[in-house]
Symmetry: C2
Subunit: 333 residues, 2 copies
DNA sequence: CGGCGGAATGGGAGCGCTCCCAGAGCATTA
DNA sequence: TAATGCTCTGGGAGCGCTCCCATTCCGCCG
């Protein structure tokens, strides 16, 4: 293994000079810098991460707690992960993958051992049992998702309440008076998944304010449950004309089933959903939707971590405002 | 930060004794071990990963190169990832997430810097451009997937050729004489994705041997392309009665479309697929399938890495034999 | 001509751990 | 009694880096 010492000798400078060339933490003459860089290439030197971490007390690694549980939509999760990894790399950080299943102690473990300088936690729940424990983590922690108790930790999320309001409002604006929300599987609501609950609250609130008839239907993936769900929604007498869907996994099935029932979108039924843009675009019928800005949320989470790594910060909540894109799947009534 | 020195003082022993209690690399009397462990808990000691890595020349971290590209099925990828993380933790290893997009130098980078002790690379292609570069990585490398040039690196994969043969053979055994393979998107074949090509070869080989009419149809996700694909497959005169599907993403859509066309499975059309068991079970019609044993493949990859970390090993290829589960979606002709 | 400020570099302690090299204490054997 | 073999423990060098504390060498001012 080539060490910094050998590079120094090869370049005819001291170890400290090589170190400073690498870190840029003090000015080095052009001439010296060039010589050092040549030696680094010539010898094939790569700094040893362990030694660097030990001496500098920085690991240049971020812990990422990822949920791998049922009900969450894996492609969406992966968009977040990809965005976080890319953003982290932009800051010269790597990402250590921690799975929620391995227990809530994971964030603590990697942090206490100085394996990571900070932790990002995905898929936080309203009343997440991990929160108290995360507070004791002696490193910056940023949550993707917003717990009820969000005064104590920094978090980033889409403003799902506003999203719920917007979608109900959008349908109300178009003259619909009876609408339905088809949501995530019951389990998601039961465990108090924050975003689901907030969207639901926004939806109900706006529906109430606008005097809409509004029903809510949690829905499992799978054809049968989608069909059953539609049976409820479209029950005679209900006169549902507008549909809000908050469940990426069933969108395709739902639209096919509507087609099978010879229901036109948006002729017979207006449909609006919340999902990543590329999903909304590639459905049998492109859907008017509010985007899940995974890319952006991931990048912001990383930025927040970096800010907290650079200096002490108070907890901060960032809610991204929803962006509605009309793709013609909703129509005036 | 509590160090090993403080633990040693607290327990009235030397640093080395604490270290050996922790690593178990030499026998320590029960009494001493107990005292040390008590001190560790009392002081809240956590070994510093950087220092440990520096001194022991082991990072206890595994690099995992994950593809985040289109066409691959994210839920399946995540099954692999989850399995690898869990298996790694069983061996007291953590997982550093590397994305293929970040460039093929990633494996090299983390390895040269001693950030990771070994690397697992997912979604390897037949003629993968990363192979030559991976050969120069100075650490164990295990591939999930099998490149053409598989003499030089260790790899684990399902025996897709046999799987292709089995599926064609299964239909032949049932008396079908005209069958079709609905595959992954064209892009997957075009970039020479190893598993797709091998399954295809097995399928064609067996079909030839058994004198079957066999057609092949790459298929994009999305309703329209599935419908178009079915139009081809079911074109009059073709008399296709058996369908092999190798594309997790379209299974749901495909079955719904068959239902829409009033084609019964398996009455009118026998369908067999290759996908994770939980997917096959939860479709509108449960499908007879060959499982993608993500759990097992991930675990084996980790085992192979650990074996190579323990001692030098020659490259080794492990192909898991496919396991066919009959769920009644295929019938005799 | 001495003193001074600024720019460029060198020296090396110390980060927290592992593991080699002993040494101490005791029982067993010659 | 001395030698030998065990078992258990201690001491501390050294892993490769960072960053504090100098030192050197200028040009410039008074």
């Amino acid at each position: 293994m080539i060490t910094i010492k050998e590079v120094a000798r090869h370049a005819g400078v001291s170890m400290s000079t090589v170190s400073y060339v690498l870190s840029g933490k003090r000015t080095i003459s052009e001439e010296t810098k060039r010589r050092v860089e040549q030696s680094i290439v010539a010898l094939g030197y790569h700094p040893n991460a362990g030694a660097r971490a030990l001496a500098s007390n920085r690991s240049q690694v971020l812990g990422l707690v990822v949920p791998l549980r049922s009900g969450v939509n894996m492609p969406v999760i992966m968009q977040f992960v990809a965005s976080i990894v890319a953003s982290a790399r932009d800051h010269d950080y790597d990402v250590l993958l921690l799975t929620k299943e391995a227990g809530p102690g994971e964030a603590h473990r990697v942090t206490a051992r100085s394996m990571t300088d900070a932790v990002i936690v995905m898929d936080v729940e309203s009343d997440d049992p991990r929160i108290p424990e995360l507070r004791t983590v002696d490193a910056p922690v940023v949550l993707l998702g917003m717990p009820d108790d969000h005064e104590v930790l920094s978090c980033v999320d889409l403003d799902f309440a506003t999203a719920g309001r917007q979608m109900a409002g959008h349908l109300a604006d178009l003259g619909h008076s009876s609408i339905a929300l088809i949501g995530s599987p019951p389990a998601v609501y039961e465990r108090g998944t924050s975003y689901a609950a907030r969207l639901l609250a926004g939806f109900r609130g706006e529906a109430g304010k606008r005097n809409l008839q509004a029903s809510v239907h949690p829905c499992e993936p799978g054809y049968d449950s989608v069909a059953a769900c539609l049976d409820e929604v479209l029950a005679p007498g209900r006169d549902t004309t507008g549909l809000v869907v908050h469940n990426e996994a069933i969108l395709g099935t739902l639209l096919l089933e509507l087609r099978r029932r010879s229901l036109d979108v948006p002729g017979d039924l207006s449909v609006i959903t919340l999902c990543p843009d590329d999903v909304a675009e590639n459905l049998p019928v492109p859907l008017t939707s509010i985007a899940v800005p995974a890319q952006e949320l991931g990048a912001i989470a990383v930025e927040m971590v970096m800010a907290r790594l650079a200096q002490e910060h108070a907890p901060e909540v960032r809610l991204l405002q929803p962006q509605l894109t009309d793709r013609g799947s909703t129509a005036a009534r």
